[in-house]
């Protein structure tokens, strides 16, 4: 069938099963926007291209399908660099289509020209500059293959205008069905080697103080069920990293919760004192390990990851397994069944863990009349007042840590945040993307006032497109996490962290954007506000909670310290460690 590059591009996206594209048109991508009118694909018109990127991320994380965004050249391409980098750090499958100036104009500093493939080379798993219309069906197929297999990640396809413009003879092509990916240098290895699994089983059987260190790779590999089978079969405790919250149910007796800089005492200390860490789809991030040379000093390491470059990158592994987390875990479960119960005596370890749990639960001070709301309490009330399978997204900072700590995640894919890059403003667009992908689920964006002001304009998108997300805005008038560091480590010298609580007026702003705006200032207003928000299902809602600025996130492992130096909540300082 004779066609043109623009129609071939949209047809190729349809063939990859794309149902939603997040984007914003402009000069160079105009010819691709025309065939969208005749396509089954739903296009969500964003207010800023960064929003399109984070929406695609939220969509991908919630559904497991690749998120697709489409924007024009130049400034639009540079505006998606942050979400691309975010997706690269957190291994989110995205396909980004960018317009480019006509091929003959590339390199001439044409209007809205930038070196998109050059700029995004280091923040994508791969990118393509398509120079021939006939390559479009193959490249789109390759892009989806790369984005969704192996370690998932963002792929960008840069398309010069002339090869998609039906008025240009260079856009003519004969449509075809690609015959599989054409990527001689790309061969992920999902199948683990059996001998390595056997080595891992041996270490697991001998271990007296084992901990499963579950990372975001569990969710990417759809391995939550397998992980549960492994923990149950081996009777080993599990920590779930910031990227893996929900990968193992928080209410499971073997779940220790989140480790890391703001992890709970038991998760951090269990890892620190373990004699075996079973790292699955995790990458020994500095926020988890603390100072590396003091991290889990007595632990042997089993490290399984789909990306061979993660093995032995940060911490040397005693058994390093390349493979898909689900296949690795299933092989381990089989191996353990064959090996029988572990001969190791783990009773002392179990009692150590239950002692920590008793002495060091997550805690915070009670609300003081006349002061701002306790953010932790607000989040607990939000959790208790919302459906059990609510999807929670967050921005970056204190509110993110409190949400990760105080929510009870019972299901995979209910927690979406920016872990690796730490992108402020992630929450609202990610929530919109998640809601588009999972329209029947309640989606709450937990946000801070600093983050909110970075991407709030996407609530206009949500209102106009009828995507009823809910925003829990914890407004303490500060860049709270920076304020906490300045209070604790810079002698309370507060430099450029006060945003002010009263301006902007978030309720009026929400209303101006077509949302419902609700404010809660005292504890008795919290529950009714949450109930009111949860009852609204025809438009977005913003609930502003006026919270206490001096509240800090505990526990905390100060930067540069080892996890043994974890600072607990002041009320627990006297407790025997």
């Amino acid at each position: 069938m004779k066609t043109n590059g623009g129609s071939a591009l949209i047809a190729s996206l349809e063939r990859e099963g794309v149902d939603v594209v997040f984007g914003l048109p402009g000069g160079a991508i105009l010819p691709v926007y025309d065939p969208i009118l005749d396509s089954s694909i739903r296009h969500i018109l964003v207010r800023h291209e960064q929003g399109a990127g984070h929406m695609a991320q939220g969509y991908a994380h919630a559904t497991g399908r690749p998120g697709v965004l489409m924007v024009t050249s130049g400034p639009a391409a540079t505006n998606i660099v942050t979400p691309l980098c975010d997706a690269y750090m957190d291994s989110i499958p995205l396909v980004a289509i960018t317009g480019q100036v006509p091929y003959s104009a590339i390199g001439t500093d044409a209007f809205q020209e930038c070196d998109t493939t050059g700029i995004t080379m280091s923040v994508t798993k791969h990118n393509f500059l398509v120079t021939d219309a006939a390559d479009i069906p193959q490249v789109i197929h390759d892009a989806f293959h790369i984005a969704t297999t192996g370690r998932p990640g963002p792929v960008l396809v840069d398309i010069p205008k002339d090869i998609v413009d039906p008025n240009n003879p260079r856009s003519a092509l004969e449509m075809y069905q690609p015959d599989g990916p054409k990527l001689p240098g790309y061969q992920p290895q999902p199948e683990p080697e059996a001998t390595l699994i056997a080595d891992a089983i041996e270490l697991i059987q001998q271990a007296e103080r084992p901990v499963i260190y579950a990372g975001g790779g569990i969710l990417k590999a759809r391995a939550a069920e397998a992980l549960r089978a492994l923990a149950d079969a081996a009777d080993i405790h599990v920590v779930t990293t910031l990227m893996a919250r929900g990968a193992f149910p928080d209410d499971h007796p073997l779940c220790l919760g989140m480790p890391g800089m703001h992890g709970n005492y038991t998760a951090v200390t269990a890892m620190q004192q373990a004699d075996l860490l079973i790292a699955l789809g995790a990458r020994f991030d500095d926020r988890v390990t603390g100072r590396l040379d003091g991290f889990a000093p007595e632990a042997k390491i089993i490290h399984a990851d789909i990306d061979p470059a993660e093995l032995n990158k940060v911490r040397r592994a005693d058994v390093a397994i390349v493979g898909d987390s689900r296949l690795v875990i299933e092989a381990m479960v089989e191996g353990l069944a064959a090996a029988g119960p572990s001969p190791a005596d783990r009773s002392e370890w179990r009692s150590r863990i239950s002692g920590w749990r008793e002495r060091f639960p997550l805690t915070y001070d009670e609300h003081v009349p006349g002061e701002g709301l306790k953010p932790q309490q607000v989040l607990e009330q939000l959790r208790d007042g919302s459906p059990e399978d609510t999807i929670v997204t967050s921005g970056v900072g204190q509110h993110q840590m409190w949400a990760a700590q105080h929510w009870t995640f019972r299901h995979p894919y209910t927690w979406i945040n920016s872990g690796g890059l730490g992108t402020m403003g992630f929450s609202i667009p990610a929530a919109i993307g998640a809601k588009v992908g999972m329209p029947d689920r309640t989606v709450w964006a937990v946000d801070g006032d600093g983050c909110f002001q970075m991407t709030a304009q996407e609530l206009v998108t949500a209102a106009v497109e009828r995507i009823p997300v809910k925003v829990a805005l914890l407004n303490n008038g500060y860049l709270g996490m920076v304020r906490q560091w300045q209070e604790m480590f810079y002698e309370e010298r507060f430099s450029e962290v006060e945003l002010g609580q009263a301006v902007p007026d978030y309720v009026k702003w929400a209303e101006a954007m077509g949302c419902v705006g609700i404010r809660a200032e005292s504890p008795e207003e919290v529950e009714p506000a949450i109930a009111q928000a949860n009852d609204i299902d025809d438009r977005p809602v913003v609930v502003e909670f006026r919270t206490e600025a001096t509240e800090k996130v505990f526990p905390m492992v100060p930067a540069g310290k080892t996890n043994s130096d974890i600072m607990v909540h002041p009320s627990q300082e006297g407790q025997q460690r």
């Binding site: 080379m121 280091s122 791969h126 001689p184 240098g185 790309y186 061979p308 093995l311």
Partner: protein, 173 residues
């Protein structure tokens, strides 16, 4: 140059625009120090061959290889141990040679089996191809005369052949 510190790695890459930029960009952002780099098409025009030597004190070789493997356009990676490979480098060098010193320089040319490419009134342009250490020696012995300009290609290398098949190479140093 100690052979322990510098390892030669050969990449077979897809012959596509921007592949060298991907490889070079990876070196830069991961902090890998590259000592020498040579790029050229191969017998198969779908692929090019990139030969480089990396300072393994700047990054473990294992990480260098694994990170390069993540580049979609990199098809194959081979690490060449100096003991089991043949390495060559080409140097073109212009040196100051006053007419009365020409004999000394010509002695070096004969000993090293170098070539004279061009002769001026008080300068000579020479070329030498050989094992990198031999090229180093030649450069060092010429330097007292005053090096005006020089260009080395960066080393290229191939795996040494099986003992049964290998013929002794006259050029070995």
């Amino acid at each position: 140059m100690s052979s322990d510190r510098f390892h030669t790695v050969v990449l077979r890459v897809e012959n596509k625009a921007g592949v060298l930029a991907r490889v070079a960009g990876l070196f830069a952002r991961r902090g890998f120090n590259i000592d020498s780099l040579a790029v050229a098409p191969t017998e198969d025009d779908r692929f090019s061959r990139i030969t480089f030597t990396v300072d393994v004190e700047s990054a473990p070789l294992d990480q260098v290889v694994k990170q390069l493997n993540k580049l979609i356009n990199v098809v194959e990676i081979t690490e060449l141990d100096p003991k089991s490979s043949v390495e060559r480098e080409l140097m073109i060098i212009t040196v100051n040679v006053a007419p009365e010193n020409r004999g000394q320089v010509m002695d070096l040319v004969r000993i090293f089996e170098a070539k004279v490419l061009n002769v001026g009134y008080d300068q000579m342009m020479l070329s030498l191809s050989g094992a990198p250490s031999r090229v180093d020696d030649f450069e060092q012995l010429l330097s007292p005369h005053g090096i005006v300009e020089l260009q080395r290609t960066g080393r290229v290398a191939l795996r040494r052949l099986d003992k049964i098949q290998a013929a002794p190479s006259a050029e070995e140093s």
